[in-house]
């Protein structure tokens, strides 16, 4: 369902050109659980941003569910992000003045769902991650782990087929991190495609497929048939 062909991404920094990605080719099937690893500055976040349509490649094509998404208009890309893709960030990126429920509701609000349906789905989603009684708390009243759980609820409220997580546990202690990973992995059972960028070998080892990126290129791409979960 995802096919990247000859993806390049260059950044102009002053009079210097930084090659963040140098010709990445990869195919990802629906329902895969992929861990992306690699040294700092190797291009992991850049790859994830491209997959999430937050960025456009300098060269190459990106086909998502059969459509070439690089040629879509801003409006169409926004719609794709809204309906097909969920994003979880290292720094949570919750809107500080909105409550947990309102943050989770945001993608549905943007999509124009009627308020009743929004409220119903948000309540169910918060209950799923065990934060029902925190619905009306603002982010600064929540712990890091709780914030990341709210962020996951927000990323999945539109029932996307692809969930991208950039170091989702990077800012959490190991116990909260494990809880976050448990919630993410539960989503795979529901058929979601999960791509996680991580520095944590323990987390990476749980994925069926591990892609290691070095200097903007794929160094290894390993599928583990019988993973030791």
């Amino acid at each position: 369902m995802i096919r990247l062909q000859g993806i390049h991404r260059e950044f102009q920094v002053g009079d210097q050109i930084v090659h963040a990605l140098n010709g990445v080719d990869v195919e990802i099937d629906t329902g895969e659980y992929i861990a992306v690893t690699g040294p700092s500055g190797s291009g992991k976040s850049t790859l994830l941003n491209l997959l999430g349509l937050l960025d456009r490649p300098s060269a190459g094509t990106y086909t998502l569910d059969g459509t070439d998404v690089t040629s879509l208009t801003d409006e169409q890309q926004a719609d794709t992000r809204n309906k097909k893709i969920g994003f979880v960030f290292q720094f949570f990126h919750l809107v500080p003045r909105l409550t947990a429920a309102e943050n989770v509701e945001l993608p549905m609000t943007l999509a124009g769902f009627p308020p009743d349906e929004r409220k119903e789905r948000v309540a169910a989603s918060l209950a799923d991650i065990g934060l029902a009684e925190r619905a009306h708390h603002r982010p600064d009243q929540l712990s890091g782990g709780q914030r990341q759980r709210v962020a996951i609820a927000r990323a999945t409220i539109m029932r996307p087929s692809l969930l991208l997580a950039d170091e989702p546990t990077g800012n959490l202690d190991s116990r909260s991190g494990a809880e976050v990973i448990r919630i993410l992995e539960a989503l795979i059972e529901l058929g979601i495609t999960l791509v996680v960028v991580t520095h944590d070998e323990k987390i990476a080892s749980r994925a069926q497929r591990r892609i290691r990126i070095v200097d903007g290129g794929i160094e290894t791409d390993v599928r583990v048939q019988d993973n030791a979960r």
């Binding site: 926004a78 719609d79 943007l110």
Partner: protein, 402 residues
């Protein structure tokens, strides 16, 4: 996104940045309040003058000897002739017109007036019985001039309040004989003080029959003739009749000027409307300044809220929707600010009216409408630039903590 959600989101973010919001509201509302208060002052001045004029009587024509220059040079003035005087005969003839209710011939002069040992110089007004009704003045005591033929020089006088006080002090003035020039007059009435009336102070004059005044001043020509038309509608007819009569009596020369209440009022009206527009314009500049302030604050807001904007984009908001969100914020701000300003302005003009009751400081409706419109339009226009900047933000740039 639904329109109601857009505004709800906008209002929530305005409430989230309280200081900034209050600052912008203040700028907006002061601008609108300035428009309302300044125009209410201009309008108040206009109405004040209009009221003063209507105290003169609304269907009044004033006939002056001589042709006014604005009406174009007539052959007689070109040849340097002095125009014919207005006489009692002219006044008599004017009063016979179908469109004229009554006339008052007036002659004016200054004379020494004395009673017992006291003496003073006083303005002497020669008039007739109809004069007091035409000018809408009131008597304090006694009677006004009696009804009689215009050429009858009765020795009676009606005196102003201040004249009375200065000549008679605590003594009763009614029925006393005072001396004006070389003639003796009996005081038959005392004028009420009718406030300020354009041009004359009713307290500082003496009114005597016009024929008596002509005798004292030894001058048969009139200062002017006041003509009251039968109705407001009859004013143009009365004016034509006046000119017609004068032409017939003055060997075909139209050597008088007729001033109508309306013409004078219209001139003042134009002046004050221009004045009001000017102050409204000046006040509108403060709205433009408010607009620029809003633009500035919005630009800062966009920079501060980069992360939020990037996030909204990541969650599926297209650039257009970001633009709408920021414009909705600007629009809500402007509307609330403008309405607050309107209330503030109305309150301000109410206070002015309370402090100066005879000054009707009411903001004209168009000023309120214009003030609100300009506020909303500038508020929104000046937010367009920051909103577009927000809409074009790159989501990863906005999200990264670089």
């Amino acid at each position: 996104m639904r329109v109601s959600d857009i505004f709800q989101f906008a209002l929530a973010s305005l409430a989230g940045y309280r200081t900034r919001t209050i600052l912008m509201l203040l700028a907006m509302s002061i601008g609108v309040a300035a428009v309302v208060i300044l125009t209410s002052l201009g309008e108040g001045a206009r109405r004040y003058v209009a009221n003063q004029f209507s105290s003169l009587g609304t269907h009044l024509l004033i006939v002056l000897p001589g042709r006014s220059e604005t009406a174009g040079a007539s052959p007689s003035t070109l040849m340097g002739e002095t125009p014919r005087d207005l006489t009692l005969g002219d006044a008599e003839a004017l009063s016979r017109s179908r469109h004229v209710r009554r006339v008052a011939p007036i002659s004016v002069g200054m004379s020494a007036v004395s009673w017992s040992s006291r003496e003073r110089d006083v303005i002497i007004l020669g008039a007739n019985a109809d004069f007091i009704d035409i000018r809408r003045w009131k008597m304090a005591r006694g009677r006004f001039l009696p009804r009689s033929n215009l050429d009858e020089a009765a020795p009676v006088a009606v005196i102003g309040e201040k004249v009375r006080k200065e000549l008679f002090g605590a003594q009763n003035a009614l029925g006393q004989w005072l001396r004006i020039g070389d003639y003796r007059f009996r005081v038959i009435g005392i004028l009420g003080s009718s406030g300020q009336s354009i041009g004359v102070d009713t307290e500082e004059l003496i009114i005597i029959p016009v024929a008596s005044a002509q005798t004292i001043f030894n001058n048969p020509s009139l200062f002017r003739i006041l003509v009251e038309a039968k109705s407001r509608a009859a004013m143009p007819l009365a004016e034509a009749a006046v000119l017609d009569t004068i032409r017939q009596r003055h060997q075909g020369e139209e050597d008088v000027t007729v001033i109508t209440q309306n013409a004078v009022l219209a001139t003042f009206d134009r002046i004050f409307v221009a004045l009001t527009l000017t102050v409204a314009g000046i006040a509108a500049i403060s709205l433009a300044v408010a607009g620029i302030l809003i633009m500035n604050v919005m630009l800062v807001a966009v920079t501060q809220r980069r992360a939020e904007i990037g996030l909204l984009k990541a969650l599926g908001a297209p650039g257009r929707e970001i633009l709408e969100l920021f414009l909705a914020e600007a629009l809500s701000l402007s509307v609330v600010g403008a309405v607050a300003g309107l209330l503030l302005g109305q309150l301000g003009s109410l206070v002015i009216r309370q402090m100066f009751p005879e000054f009707p400081a009411f903001a004209p409706w168009w000023a309120s409408v214009a003030g609100i419109t300009v506020a909303v339009v500038t508020g929104t226009l000046f937010s367009l630039l920051p909103a577009r900047r927000a809409a074009r933000l790159d989501p990863i740039d906005a999200l990264s903590r670089r």
